[in-house]
Symmetry: C2
Subunit: 335 residues, 2 copies
DNA sequence: TCTGAGTGTGTAATCGATTACGTACTCGTT
DNA sequence: AACGAGTACGTAATCGATTACACACTCAGA
């Protein structure tokens, strides 16, 4: 009862495999009578063509590998949805891998995807794999970078790139706190491997300088996890003198920041002001309004990435000049 | 510079393709000298074997299809992590599909996964595809149901099943509210297609009966989305008489419930008590403690599902008697 | 010396599709 | 009547690996 092959269908319908293929793909000429015989055989045998065999012959898998640092982050899920909504209608299926911010795991995924012969790769890199990425690109695998740049180069380094204006966003976010009179600011930063972390932190420093603040900010370096936000707040609360505001450079960490501040019975922004790069879905559960945040547009970034993917896949390896798309944003205040 | 084949490697190392294959798979005998020549050719040509070709020959893709109703729900992400942590070390890669609670989309995914010849399928069904599921199972595709049963049958219907004791959990959850003196309770229910929705709602009804409550609960039927929680609360607040407690039968909807109650300036549980089937990650952001919830154990469910998968894959189509695993839980109170 | 087990390597079939090419028939045109 | 275009279908090569089988050689034990 299992897996019928095209040969069996051909035999059952008393035609050649070529004809069966023609019927199923609606290519070439087939008489109505034969078509019907084939169709009948197809669903009598419950035949499902093997995408494996097809891919081998056609050198096309209709699969797109997506590598993100944290699959449970709504931000990356948003990007994925955007990609899928664009490439899905063209017949492509996404294949996910989460690197968990771990460059080694990311490298394994890149390798795996190449072996699986995905038609293209979307990469939000955890960093540290410039060499592997370049090898793949040289081997002709279409690659679109999202959210994060490679380490070595400041531009997409010859690859398509869809990212955000991190420095500018962080600058504005920090400026808000500064204009509210905060001077001692705790910064919850991500790993230096991630270009987003580096750029956003630079933006904060620039804002401090622009506002004539010379005291060094107190910094916590984490891995973009909720737990990191919690630990950062603990560090800040124990600091002397204690900061009056926290700026968190990633949405997951922001949630941790909020949870820990609330757990300590402090009020936001009364006792501790908070600014977040990225929205916190449940932020409105807070007692009082006043949370500053930058709302990113992951879905739009995803659709744009999807378009770039299709463009590259259509180009079939021909050299295209790399597209770079930078999303800008505004600072918002909750409620 | 692109895609070298095993034939090119063989030529470069001046051996047959069989020998190259033996070197790469460490099977059969190969002399040290030849092995070295081959290895050298492999990385000089930057050769990556084609998983496509291998899969065709070996009838094994090392891919496991995972179909969930909502990929952005941390609950299903937890299950997925559990699965991955068990099957990953055995060389399997997960391939995701989100049905968005849509039976048609789910059917397309089932079909797609069969064509891609995944080695097994994990299904948290949106409902309405009993026929297709059974066809796949008959065709020899190992299938493990998680979280939700098929519609027709009360047991796994001959398939492996990892689920929760929904009726019991909902019974306890509702009982808490009842014991606190609530009589008018708003129930935020999911679609009847989902077995979880049906069973949990039954549990609530049983609790009402057991506590001698005869007034009909006021019910909102949604699709397990956050938006549904919001709409449900609007309905309840407009009802006359207004319920004093809400029980939400799914974590996503619970978040919506909390958000909308807070948005209306009401206190939890003072003005409106809330009980949730499933944890709400950011629940602790609430002003006051008092949220009842059942904490599910998606990760453990995932690992169990992973084990069942491996068992079935190892069995290679031999009939195994179906395993059914039901997780039970306790009611907790936040803070 | 003969035998058989253990090594080392190549030849060719195979997996399940697609597709280039060839053949044959039917018409309408000139 | 000859020709070319359009229609209908089959044969066999092909994609890139794995693997059954065959062959050849080495060496230890009888």
């Amino acid at each position: 009862m299992s897996k019928a092959t095209i040969k069996q269908v051909a035999a059952a319908a008393d035609v050649s495999t070529a004809t069966v293929s023609r019927v199923l793909n609606e290519s070439g000429y087939v008489s109505d009578e034969v078509r019907e015989r084939v169709m009948e055989a197809v669903d009598r045998l419950n035949y499902q063509p093997s995408a494996i065999a097809r891919s081998l012959k056609q050198d096309k898998t209709f699969m797109i590998g997506v590598i993100v640092p944290d699959i449970s982050n709504p931000y990356f899920m948003g990007i994925s949805r955007g990609i899928e909504d664009v490439v899905g209608p063209e017949g492509f299926q996404l294949m996910f891998g989460s690197s968990d911010e771990n460059p080694d795991k990311e490298e394994r995924l890149l390798q795996l995807f190449q072996e699986k012969r995905v038609d293209a790769i979307v990469l939000a890199t955890a960093g540290g794999n410039d060499g592997t990425v370049r090898r793949l690109a040289d081997a002709g695998v279409p690659i679109v970078l999202v959210d994060r740049k490679l380490e070595e180069d400041d531009e997409g380094a010859g690859l398509d790139l869809v990212a955000e204006d991190n420095a500018e966003g962080a600058f504005r976010l920090a400026s808000q706190l500064l204009e509210d009179g905060h001077v001692r600011i705790g910064v919850v930063n991500g790993p230096a491997r991630a270009s987003t972390g580096r750029e956003r932190y630079d933006g904060v420093l620039q804002a401090l300088r622009a506002h004539g603040v010379t005291t060094e900010p107190i910094v916590y370096n984490g891995e973009f996890s909720t737990e990191d936000g919690i630990l950062a707040v603990r560090k800040f609360l124990a600091a002397e003198p204690r900061p009056t505001a926290v700026i968190s450079l990633n949405n997951r960490m922001s949630l941790g920041v909020l949870l820990e501040i609330v757990r300590n019975g402090l009020r936001i922004p009364g006792d501790m002001a908070v600014a977040s790069f990225g929205e916190v879905e449940a932020g409105s559960l807070l007692k009082e309004p006043g949370l500053y945040y930058i709302d990113q547009r992951p879905y739009e970034m995803g659709t744009r990435a999807g378009e770039l993917l299709l463009r590259r896949i259509d180009a079939k390896g021909e050299a295209l000049e790399p597209a770079v798309e930078i999303f800008r944003h505004e600072v918002n205040r909750l409620n």
